[in-house]
């Protein structure tokens, strides 16, 4: 079970964008260069954020990406779901219904007990993710490393030509 690395990229990008003025758009090439990421592939992840309504894109010169809403309104779960999709990691294929061990002789069983247990755990994971927002991360970073926010702003803000 491996999470796409695009999630890490997306989270860092959201965090960096949170340090800027909210209506300032940053082109993908700058966001990529910031962490030496492949630009074209990062664009793909950013588009996923746009589709999910987390970020918005503005085309043309001086265009780029920006957060679509306040960092306080963006949970880590939102970002993870935007990149990884909505379906859960454990997927019950209902193998218990198949074969001689299936419900043929026992009638229709309502819920797979194993599936319920696995869903329970994954729900705990989702709740833990939903409880933390990009703003929380930004606040923690600003407290632990006060120089980071200004450095990000200086490097990502529209360069002085």
């Amino acid at each position: 079970m491996r999470m796409s690395e695009g999630v890490e990229w997306a989270l860092h990008c959201c965090l960096n964008l949170a340090f800027l003025e909210q209506d300032e758009a940053v082109p993908a090439v700058k966001l990529a260069a910031f962490h030496e990421l492949p630009t074209a592939y990062l664009t793909k992840q950013l588009q996923a954020l746009v589709r999910a309504g987390i970020a918005s894109s503005v085309p043309g010169p001086r265009g780029g990406f920006r957060l679509a809403r306040a960092p306080e309104q963006i949970s880590l779960l939102d970002v993870v779901v935007a990149i990884e999709g909505t379906e859960q990691a454990f997927r019950c294929e209902e193998i218990r219904q198949r074969g001689p061990g299936g419900g043929a002789s026992g009638g229709i069983q309502v819920a797979c007990t194993i599936d319920v247990a696995m869903r329970k755990a994954e729900l705990a994971w989702r709740q833990a993710l939903a409880a933390q927002t990009i703003a929380d991360i930004a606040a923690t970073v600003g407290r632990r490393y006060p120089s980071t926010p200004v450095r990000v702003r200086n490097l990502l803000a529209t360069a002085p030509a």
Copy 2:
């Protein structure tokens, strides 16, 4: 982020084995036929359970697999880790250290805040899995579907020649 379906197979197999006498070995071909699973591939998963110390295998005729310890001592996390491996889904690649946004000008940052947040969520997931055992599942199934345990026993116990 997709979990291997082998996890589902392994969980169901552990559950079925939990219904039997603990020292009774069931060959892989029977466990596979029980849910119409490909025998050879299921064997691979069972071997993983053996390597993890969850199940034990006995070779030769009348051989097969059995649980290595009591169902109360087997958590869902044990099974998931046995199949999926120990490393977590979100892996921090430390991209924050790379590129102009890295710690070059800010000194060595101790912990990646994003990584900490993601680990926190995954820890909640692991704890939720560790809190549930195969015995719990078996008990729930026995309560909701009383006919299942005896059916499993009849189908998996050493057939009358």
